[in-house]
């Protein structure tokens, strides 16, 4: 176990170094000098000052080291716009809406998918199962921004039930906050519902064929009790793993949904920064999301190994 932990930690370090190096080098990817592109009118001295501020006039390694030491202290630089806003500050403001969206969507998806999955599995190939299976197949083919636009049009523009643009912090009124969060949350959760339902269904069907379920049936336990108390827990391990890992992927999905619903989170921050050619802010956002995702995966990975060694079966069977 300790050897496994050491290996995982070594992997974590390698991945973190690679990711941060990539992110810090992003500024060099721009084909023409990015400073020329952002400040076409600046004098040569001004440009040189910006270049040295960004560190792109120095060797890659030295730029990386400076970027990394600053980033570790929470300093991700200042935006390239006239206001020179602190990137760290902007991200601190943008994180709450994004995280709220991601967690709400995750919660909603599991809340809906678990009963659906259990019910589909309990009568596999029945009418309900077939309907659920076809619906989830169709649901998976709807890109989230398409679903978002449809919901915004039908619920927001036509029915006028919910606002489609903007955000109210939860502190300013939980009810208003929820009204603004509903459409983005449903949009982000939809595809997850389909994924989770399918995953739980197939695991649950396998569990329902095992001996202890037959025993439980023979004991005369009720169908509901067998499903919810006996079969659900052993069937939910890969569901929960995927759900945990998906938290990171959901941030990718949240990015586009935030732009559609004008939710002031990380995605909107990235889109606005791109619009203003503010590469430093884009870089900072990518850094925070990537590092967060790496750490999340690490935690999932570790707890996965700690909690139940048997679950490795799931990964090798694929």
């Amino acid at each position: 176990m300790t050897r496994l932990m050491l290996r995982k930690c070594a992997q974590l370090v390698i991945v973190l170094v690679a990711v941060t190096f990539f992110v810090s080098a992003l500024l060099r990817l721009t084909p023409n000098d990015s400073v020329d592109r952002i400040y076409p009118t600046a004098t040569e001295e001004q440009k040189a000052a910006i270049r040295s501020d960004l560190g792109i006039d120095r060797p890659v390694i030295s730029q990386y080291w400076d970027w990394l030491t600053n980033a570790v202290r929470g300093d991700l630089g200042r935006s390239l716009t006239a206001e020179r806003l602190s990137v760290g500050e902007q991200i601190r403001n943008a994180l709450p809406p994004t995280l709220q969206l991601v967690f709400l969507a995750q919660f909603l998806a599991l809340l809906v998918a678990i009963p659906l999955g259990v019910w589909s599995a309990s009568r596999a190939n029945g009418v309900f199962d077939k309907t659920a299976s076809i619906s989830s197949f169709a649901l998976l083919a709807i890109p989230n921004y398409v679903l978002g636009l449809v919901l915004a049009y039908v619920v927001g523009v036509r029915l006028q039930w919910l606002p489609t643009q903007g955000y109210v912090p939860i502190g300013d009124g939980p009810w208003d906050w929820l009204r603004y969060m509903i459409l983005p949350t449903v949009t982000l959760a939809a595809a997850q519902i389909a994924i989770y339902q399918r995953l739980l269904r197939s695991d649950m069907i396998t569990t329902l064929h095992s001996d202890f379920i037959t025993t439980a049936r023979a004991k005369g336990l009720s169908r509901a009790r067998i499903l919810w108390r006996h079969a659900l827990r052993p069937s939910s391990i890969s569901l929960l793993t995927i759900a945990a890992i998906n938290l990171g992927a959901l941030i990718g999905g949240a990015v586009v949904i935030e732009v559609i619903f004008q939710l002031p989170g990380m995605g909107k921050l990235i889109a606005d920064a791109i619009f203003k050619n503010d590469y430093v802010t884009v870089q900072g956002c990518v850094a925070v999301i990537a590092i967060g995702y790496v750490l999340l995966n690490f935690v999932v990975d570790i707890s996965y190994a700690l909690l139940d060694p048997r679950t490795r079966r799931v990964t090798t069977a694929a």
Binding site: I14, A18, S133, I134, L140, V146, V256, V259, V286
Partner: protein, 290 residues
């Protein structure tokens, strides 16, 4: 990251286990029909009797669908039907181009790792894990934001994010087939590694790879739309479904048809590619032919 969760996820995403084989067959033919139709549209776009997508036509400025302009006109009077058809070109080009690129790099990587295993495999898997350690969409956005918006760069960015996914599928399959008797037999008969890999292992990997690639094309086409909405999509003079959806999104309350038609095309395309991928998987997957 636990080794093959990506594969578990892909299987959860696809494999319509309870769909009746007959329904799936009909669905697959419909899906194939739609894809052929799209390819023909994309190729024939310049000779079809449709207006120039960039041309502003006075009568259809902000006008809904009508005779002669079946999909209506947009904010500045460009014909939406014509834009959707020209957009098919860009969207298919980006989708298939990106996956071709991903296959070009991902297939050899996955084959080498899965066939030779050992240290080579560990190096490849670590590299793939590093690529997967940034959420794919964020990576694509970062790459296009910094490389600049162009058809080539967007295809490149979406190709790069496809590499690890495709390589993993190839590796997982190569791992199982490299263990099989016919591979040992080929080696015993004196076949070189190159020959064994290309003639014995690779053909067996192809069905799974094709199925995954079709799904990946769908993902790339969808991702192109994401890039447009974020503001790093194709340049304005290259219409694509994504850029059209992004335009329509900004006039959703007044000109809903601008977003509706490209969304419809996108949905039909994604569901077709998913159906085809599923059909191929079921056709070749011995486990599911029970």
């Amino acid at each position: 990251m636990p080794p093959d969760l990506a594969t578990v996820e892909v299987e959860a995403l696809t494999g319509a286990p309870s769909a009746a084989p007959r329904a799936l067959r009909i669905g697959a033919w419909l899906a194939l029909g739609w894809m052929v139709f799209l390819v023909v549209l994309a190729i024939l776009a310049p000779v079809l009797p449709i207006p120039d997508p960039a041309e502003s036509i006075g009568e259809i400025v902000r006008q809904g669908p009508q005779a002669g302009h079946w999909f209506g006109g947009d904010f500045i009077g460009q014909d939406v039907l014509s834009q959707v058809i020209w957009g098919t070109r860009a969207s298919l080009l980006v989708g298939f181009g990106a996956i071709a690129l991903g296959l070009l790099v991902g297939t050899p990587l996955g084959m080498l790792a899965g066939y030779f295993r050992g240290p080579l495999d560990r190096v490849v898997v670590t590299c793939l894990d590093i690529m997967l350690s940034i959420p794919a969409l964020i990576l694509a956005i970062a790459l296009t934001a910094f490389l600049g918006r162009s058809l080539v760069n967007i295809t490149l960015a979406l190709g790069i994010i496809a590499i690890p996914q495709l390589a993993r599928v190839v590796r997982a399959n190569a791992l199982t087939y490299a263990e099989r008797e016919f591979v040992t037999a080929a080696r015993a008969l004196g076949a070189s590694h190159l020959r064994t890999v290309t003639r014995e292992v690779f053909p067996n990997v192809v069905p799974a790879l094709v199925a995954t690639s079709l799904l990946a094309v769908a993902i790339a086409i969808v991702a192109e739309g994401v890039l447009s909405v974020i503001g790093v999509g194709l340049p304005l003079d290259v219409p694509s479904w994504g850029s059209l959806i992004d335009e329509g999104r900004q006039h959703l309350d007044t000109l809903p048809w601008v977003a509706f038609f490209p969304c419809l095309f996108l949905f039909l395309t994604v569901i077709s590619l998913n159906t085809l991928g599923d059909a191929i998987r079921q056709r070749f997957d011995a486990r599911e032919t029970r």
